[in-house]
C-alpha cells in the first residue's frame, strides 16, 4: 500500500491520529497517548482492482491490463479502496470501578490500503 501525499487521487492510506488529551479521554486511558486510526481514501480504477495498492510485478501488471481491457465498457465500479492490513491497539485504561484494564483490540489500526 501507499501513503497519501498531496495531489494524488489514487487509493492510499491517510494518517489520522486521535490525541486522547485533545478529546478529554486522557484521564481514563492511561496508555497510549492517542489512537493512530488512519483510513483509506482515493479512487480505484478498474485496472488496479483486486490489487493491494500498486502492481507488484510484471505478471500482475499484464493481468491487470488484460482485466482493464476486458472490462472496458462494462459496468463501472465494484472496486473500493479498503484496508488490506491492520494491527491491534493495546490499551491500558481505568474502568468505572477504577480497576486498571489492559487489552489488545484487534484490527484497530489501518496499516495499508488497497483496491478490493
Amino acid at each position: 500500500g501507499i501513503d497519501c501525499q498531496g495531489g494524488s487521487s489514487m487509493c492510499c492510506r491517510q494518517e489520522f491520529f486521535v490525541d486522547f488529551r485533545e478529546i478529554g479521554w486522557h484521564d481514563w486511558i492511561i496508555q497510549p497517548e492517542g489512537y493512530a486510526m488512519n483510513f483509506c481514501t482515493g479512487q480505484c480504477p478498474l485496472h488496479v482492482a483486486g490489487m493491494p495498492g500498486i502492481a507488484a510485478s510484471f505478471h500482475t501488471a499484464v493481468l491487470n491490463l488484460l482485466k482493464a481491457n476486458t472490462a472496458a465498457g462494462t459496468t463501472e465500479g465494484g472496486s473500493c479502496c479498503v484496508p488490506t492490513a491492520r494491527r491491534p491497539l493495546s490499551l491500558l485504561y481505568y474502568d468505572r470501578d477504577s480497576n486498571i484494564v489492559k487489552t489488545d483490540i484487534p484490527d484497530m489500526v489501518v496499516e495499508a490500503c488497497g483496491c478490493s
Binding site: V18, G77, S116
Partner: protein, 217 residues
C-alpha cells in the same frame, strides 16, 4: 459493505469541509473504541488511582505472563488490575473487597486471578497467612467461605496467591471478598500493609465471550 457493482459506499461526500470531516472521524474513533470495550459511554472515575499505586502494581506484575495476547480466533483478552477496598479490618483480620464492573466482565470468563499483597514482618520471623475466599452467591445475602489458601511468609515484601475457581467465579459475578488472617499475631499492628504504595490488588486474566462457550461436565 461492498456491493458487487456500483460506486463504493462512503461516509461522507465532497460536500463536507475539513473540520466537519475531522469531527466525524473523531466521533467514529470514539464510538469504535467504546464498542470494542463493550462500553456505552466513557467511564467516569469515582475513585481515581494515584500514579504511585499504578506504578507499584505494574512493577509487581513485571515479568509475569502477559495475559493480553491475541489468539488465532481473535478473541479479545483483558488483564484487569483491581485495587482492594478495605473494610471490617482489624489487627488480626484484613478484609479486602474487589469490584468488577458488569460492563467489563459481562459475558466474559475470568481465567486466572492472583492476589498480591504486602507483608511487613520483624526480622528473622515467619508468619503463616490464611487467605480466605468469601463469596456472595446469587440470591444470597451472606458471605460464604469457599476456600482457604495457607501461605508461609518468611520475609517482608510483596507476596502473591493464585486464587482458585471459586474466586474466579465470584469475580465474574462482579464482587470478590477476601480475608487475610495471620495465624499467629504477636505484633501490635497489622502485618498486612494497605497504604498508598502497598495497596493490595488482584490481577485477573479475562477472556471475552465466556458465557457463550459450551462446558462439558
Amino acid at each position: 459493505t461492498l456491493k458487487a457493482s456500483g460506486p463504493c459506499p462512503a461516509c461522507w461526500g465532497a460536500t463536507l469541509d475539513l473540520e466537519s470531516q475531522r469531527e466525524l472521524l473523531l466521533d467514529l474513533a470514539k464510538r469504535r473504541i467504546l464498542d470494542k470495550l463493550h462500553l456505552n459511554e466513557r467511564p467516569t472515575l469515582s475513585q481515581p488511582v494515584s500514579r504511585t499505586v499504578l506504578k507499584t502494581a505494574l512493577q509487581r506484575l513485571h515479568g509475569s505472563p502477559q495475559g493480553a495476547t491475541l489468539k488465532d480466533d481473535q478473541e479479545q483478552e483483558y488483564e484487569i488490575i483491581s485495587f482492594a477496598e478495605t473494610g471490617f479490618s482489624s489487627i488480626n483480620n484484613t478484609r479486602l473487597d474487589f469490584h468488577f464492573s458488569d460492563k467489563t466482565t459481562g459475558g466474559m470468563e475470568i481465567q486466572q486471578a492472583r492476589l498480591m499483597f504486602f507483608v511487613q514482618l520483624p526480622p528473622n520471623t515467619t508468619q503463616t497467612i490464611n487467605v480466605r475466599v468469601l463469596v456472595l452467591r446469587p440470591y444470597d445475602t451472606n458471605l460464604t467461605l469457599t476456600t482457604q489458601h495457607l501461605l508461609e511468609v518468611d520475609a517482608s515484601g510483596w507476596h502473591q496467591v493464585l486464587l482458585g475457581p471459586e474466586a474466579q467465579a465470584a469475580s465474574s459475578w462482579g464482587h470478590l471478598t477476601l480475608e487475610l488472617v495471620p495465624e499467629s499475631q504477636e505484633a501490635q499492628s497489622s502485618v498486612i500493609l494497605g497504604g498508598v504504595a502497598h495497596r493490595p490488588f488482584v490481577a485477573a486474566q479475562v477472556r471475552a465471550g465466556g458465557k457463550h462457550r459450551v462446558r462439558r461436565r
